[in-house]
Each structure stands twice: as C-alpha cells, then as structure tokens.
C-alpha cells in the first residue's frame, strides 16, 4: 500500500525525522485555520498517490490564512493523472539551501535492500541516474547488519551530503525496517539556511503482507465493486471492457485477459479466486462480476491444481440460483481443466442453465466470450 505524503510524514515524525510543521485539511476553511495556527507563509500540497503534482499545479504557495483558503479551494478536487485530490497538506514554507535525494528500498533484482542517495535532489531521480550515473550513490544494505551510525555517515559522505544528514539516513532506514516498508523515499531532503536537514516530501510503500505485525489505517474505500470484492477477500481489479473474467491464480487470469484481448474484446476486470477456492468463493466472484453493468459476457477459466473443478461448477450453479433475475441472462462461458474437471463439467451439464456454455480450450472459450459480448 502506498501512503499519502501526510501519512508518510507522520511516520517520519514518529521516528524522529524532521519534517516541516503542518497539518492536513479536507476543506478550504480547515486550510485557513491551519495556516493561521502556523502563523507563517505556507505551501498548499495536493495529496495524491502519484508524481508530477508540482507541474500539474497541485503545489501552491500562500502568504497567509486568506491566501491559504483561496489556494486550497483551487487544489481540492483537482484531478492529477486520474487521482482526485481529496485533501491538502498545509505546511510552513521551508527555504532550502541545498536539495538532496535519499531512499531505502527492496531491490527485487538482487533480493536484498538498497540505499540510493544523491547530493542532487528535487529532480526526477530516474532521469538523473540516466544522465549522470555518478550523481546517485547506490549501495546494497546487508539485511542482517542493517544501517548503523557509521554506515549512515559513510553513505552521507559518499554522496556529498552534510554530516548532520547521516542521522536522518539512519532513521530513514529504521522506518523501512520498523514499518515493513518496501520503499522509503525523500525527494527532496533539504538543508535549510540555518543548517537543519528536513524531509520536504515523503513517499512510503508498505508491504501488505506484513499488515499482521502493525496497526495500520485501512486502505480508503473507493466506493466501487473493488470494496465489495475486498470485503469478500477476493482479488478484483475493475477494467474498461465488457468481458468479465474469473480464473484461479494471478498468472492464469492475467493470461486470460490477454487471450480475451487477442480475440478482439476488452476484459471488464481481473478476478483471481485463488488456490483451493470453495463453491462459496466462486459464487461470490460471479456475483461481483455480474453486479458490473458493463459486463456483457463472462469467461470462467479454471485450471484446477488445488482448486477442484466440481467446487467451481457448484459455485456457478449456486450463484446463478441466488442471482436469478439479476444475472439478466448474460452468457457465462466456462472452461474447466485439471483437478476433477470431468466431475465439474458433468455438474454444469446436468444443471442445464440457459446462460452457461462450456468450451473445452482457453482460446476457444475466450473467442466465444468475446463474440457473445459483441452481441453476436
């Protein structure tokens, strides 16, 4: 889960990393009150989980409370690359003397941790790394040893950061470890004219797998089918097309989306019922997909490994009984193979439901679902 900047800064503050004074606002009036409290020139920053806010006009200075209210009104509700700004962070304006870049992250390729630090911050780090590779210090971090004070001093010195940045680096590492983060990034990390090192921005990605070890705020509801799916423990992503897709295993479902696209239709969603799914899980999945008015046909593609195809078939039958009219007669194309496939096929044959068609291969099933979605 990606955190908003204001959430990342709350974590930073808790771990002793200096951040500008400020608070988050959901209305212009709140922004005005916060600015009055801060009693200083402020910056209004759109809270969206995407980059490029500044260029999109989502970061605006304001001299005082009245200006803060005015600027917050402009930023709140703004659409930045498809992300709506529902909140703004109102912060005391900080004048940087120098700007740096600092990050700790999980290095997928090496299967370890990586420190990335640069004396040149405030820019797109990928661009900097490409144009001037020497400007970004990349250092693997031993997962057992970690980053202690000495290591942090070496890292700061190596990237040309002032001595007082070392303590911040050590604490950023602690955020990564203590919070089970996959990424902790500060861009820019700044040194002020009075020689204080402050995190002006913050990007943190937490590992969802580690949620059981932490007390975390739940992901915000999006108000759509994705919330309903999550409540049922299903892995569902809404897409733009008309062919609903259900399968078992993330790889097979992604592959099914591709095969549907190859058959000339667009998938309406990604839905993985996971391994060993029960009839109930299958029924829940089908119900979610048929609740999407964009769906014109459904493709169920299951290769039973642990998942038993008879359970999948029973789930389809149950869901159709429960849904009744709400299914609106949309066709359901089913391809079952693997564990108990014959049993599953027989259950569907015997149910003789008018909406269900069985097809024996993945390619033919996708082609059939695509044709039916097109109304042919």
């Amino acid at each position: 889960m990606d955190l908003y900047e204001y959430q990342a800064k709350e974590l930073f503050r808790r771990h002793g990393i200096p951040v500008p004074r400020g608070a988050v606002a959901e209305t212009p009036a709140e922004a005005r009150a916060i600015a009055a409290d801060l009693n200083a020139p402020v910056v209004i920053k759109a809270q969206v989980k995407t980059g490029g806010r500044g260029k999109a006009g989502g970061i605006r200075p304001a001299a005082g409370p009245v200006a803060a209210e005015h600027e917050a009104a402009r930023v709140l509700g703004m659409d930045i690359k498809g992300h709506r700004a529902r909140r703004v962070l109102v912060e005391a304006a900080t004048v940087p003397f120098e700007e740096y870049y600092a990050a700790f992250l999980v290095d997928r390729a090496e299967g370890g941790f990586l420190a990335m630090v640069s004396g040149q911050g405030g820019v797109e780090i990928e661009e900097l790394a490409a144009s001037d590779p020497g400007a970004v210090v990349r250092l693997p971090v031993d997962p057992v040893e970690g980053v202690d004070a000495d290591a942090a001093r070496l890292l700061a010195a190596g990237a040309g950061l002032p001595e007082q940045a070392a303590e911040v680096l050590e604490r950023l590492w602690r955020v990564l470890v203590a919070e089970d983060a996959l990424l902790v990034e500060v861009n820019p990390l700044v040194c002020t004219t009075d020689q204080r090192v402050v995190a002006l921005d913050g990007k943190v990605t937490l590992d969802d797998n580690a949620a059981f070890r932490h007390r975390r705020e739940a992901e915000e509801p999006t108000g759509g089918l994705e919330d309903r799916a999550r409540a049922k423990g299903l892995n569902y992503v809404k897409l733009d097309g008309t062919v609903g897709v259900i399968g078992n295993g993330a790889g097979l479902v992604m592959s099914t989306l591709d095969v549907v696209a190859g058959a000339g239709a667009a998938p309406a969603n990604f839905l993985d019922i996971g391994g060993g799914a029960s009839a109930q899980v299958m029924a829940d999945g089908l119900e979610i997909i048929l609740a999407d008015p964009d769906v014109r046909s459904v493709l169920v593609n299951v290769f039973g490994g642990i998942t038993a195809c008879d359970a999948v078939a029973n789930g389809i039958v149950t869901a159709l009984e429960l849904l009744g009219e709400r299914g609106h007669g949309r066709p359901i194309v089913v391809r079952l193979d693997g564990n108990n496939a014959e049993l599953g096929r027989r259950i569907l044959d015997q149910a003789r439901h008018p909406a269900v068609r069985q097809v024996s291969t993945m390619d033919a099933a996708a082609a059939t679902a695509a044709r039916l979605a097109a109304g042919a």
């Binding site: 299967g111 057992v144 295993g249 993330a250 592959s255």
Partner: protein
C-alpha cells in the same frame, strides 16, 4: 535426469500436521515422493498416518534431518511463522527449502534469503513448488497432468505452469519449477535456466514470466550468453493497466519498464521465441523440437 529434485530426494514437510500440510503430504506421497519426516514444533515423537505410509513427526528440523537424512524441506506453515521456519531449515543445513506459503512479509524473505546464501537453495515463497514427474514432487503441482519427459519449465505462476504442462502433456517434463510471484524470491529464472542447461535430461526449456520487475530481461541477457538449448517463452500481462497490483505482489507495472511488451522484446532480441498465448507458446516449442529432430 532432472534439476534440484530427483527420486532420491528425501523430503521433510514443515507444518505437515496442519490442514494444508496433511492434504499435500498425501498428494506428494501419491506422486511417488519419498516423504521421510514431518516437523511441527511441540508435536515431536508422534507420527502421521497416510494409509500405506506412516511418517514420523519431529519437533525440530535439526532432529528430523539427524534421524531421517532429509535433504529437502517443503514449508506449509502460516505467513507469520514462515520466516522462522525457513531460518530453522537453513540452520539445520537442509540443501533445498521449498516455501509454498503465500503472504510472507518481504522483509522476512530478504532476511532468510541472505542467511541461506551458500548453504540452502530456497524456492519461493508464494510458489507451487517443483515436480520431476515420475520421480518426486515437492509442493502442490498436480502429478497427474503429465509424465516424465525432456522439457524443462520455469515459471513465476502456478496455474500457468499447469496450463503449459497440460498443453505439452504428450511430451512430458524433466522438471517444472514454480519460482513464485513475490517481489523477492529465493531462486530466479536464471538459476533454473543454468540448471536446465547443465541437465543432460533436458532438451528444451519453457520459460513463463509476467509483468513487473526485470527478471525476464535479465534472463534474456543470460540466455543470449549462456544457454545453448532451445528456449521458448511466454509473458502474461499485456493488457494489465499500469500501477495496479494484479494478484501477485510482484505483478505490478510502474513506468515503462516491467511491461509485458518490454519483456517480450528483450527476450526476442536474445533469440528466444515468445508466444502471445499459452497455446501458441506450446506450438512454438513443438515446431522448434520438430526442427531439431
């Protein structure tokens, strides 16, 4: 022949007395696997009955290895205990540890991966394990899809492994390895490609990738320089939208790198034929083998 797992492998199951552990131990035994021990802390001294075979249960991996000579561990324990279980297997010097558990914190994986370096090969986590058909199975890959043959397979995805094994069931497989879909895994595509290249029982290799990270691009570079056997590849996720997690924690595209298109291009540049669908991938492998023979 096969890679990593043979008929001589002596398998122990960590978490064997749990529901998943029991179910899959029975399936592994039915597949011909020599399951010699179970490990459940606090339940040492008992035994578990699997019909024709009774498997002793030990309280620790070290004890199980000492008593039975087990050289492969399959881990079915819940995510919060997985890190500890794998570290125990590494400390006991088990040469191969197959981590089936889904939902292991990435920091735990990074830690046990570091501890295992030079001691234990880790496969997974969040993987279906591996199977050398007709010899042994360590994990949850169904044994009845196909038989022994001379094709090797490496994949991030479990069900796509099954799908490709099914498409090529008449040919059979030396070994199929599901390396897992997490951002950090113990054994990579490259590790498997290297092993298949050296395995005299493998004639051709199927590699299955999916969006996210750059493992496929790295594998492509390795193939260009070091693999002489024919390789065909399949990459899932051409239609996946950017920035959205597609089930596997690793299956997320951010920015331009990590897309299925980029992976396909990198593989083709290395001379690897890449199928657009599982069935096309299977056809490509057949045509290559037909040309060789």
């Amino acid at each position: 022949m096969a890679i990593f797992l043979t008929k001589d492998s002596r398998v122990l199951v960590q978490g064997m007395t749990g529901a998943e552990g029991t179910r899959h131990t029975a399936r592994m035994l039915a597949a011909g696997t020599d399951v010699v021990a179970g490990v459940t802390p606090g339940k040492g001294g008992r035994s578990a009955d699997f019909g024709e075979r009774t498997v002793p249960v030990f309280g620790s991996v070290a004890e199980a290895v000492e008593e039975t000579g087990a050289d492969v561990s399959v881990v079915f324990v819940p995510p919060r205990f997985t890190g500890g279980a794998v570290e125990e297997a590494v400390a006991a010097g088990v040469p191969l540890c197959v981590v089936i558990t889904e939902g292991v914190p990435v920091h735990d994986t990074v830690r046990f991966r570091a501890l295992a370096r030079g001691r234990t090969r880790i496969i997974g986590p969040n993987c279906p394990g591996l199977i050398s058909p007709g010899q042994s199975s360590a994990g949850i890959i169904p044994a009845d899809i196909t038989t022994a043959g001379r094709v090797g397979l490496v994949s991030k995805s479990g069900t796509l492994t099954y799908q490709l094994m099914y498409e090529l069931r008449d040919l059979g497989f030396s070994t199929a390895v599901g390396i897992g879909g997490d951002p950090v895994v113990g054994t990579t595509h490259i590790d498997c490609l290297r092993a298949f290249e050296e395995d005299p029982g493998t004639d051709a290799i199927v590699m299955i990738g999916e969006i996210g990270g750059d493992a496929e691009e790295r594998a492509a570079a390795h193939i260009a320089g070091h693999v002489t056997k024919p390789v065909v590849a399949y990459v899932a996720g051409f239609t996946a939208p950017e920035g959205r997690t597609m089930g596997h924690a690793g299956a997320i595209v951010s920015g331009s790198s990590g897309t299925a298109r980029a992976k396909k291009e990198a593989l083709e540049a290395a001379g690897v034929r890449v199928g657009e669908t599982p069935s096309e991938t299977a056809r490509l492998l057949r045509s290559i083998l037909a040309g060789v023979r």
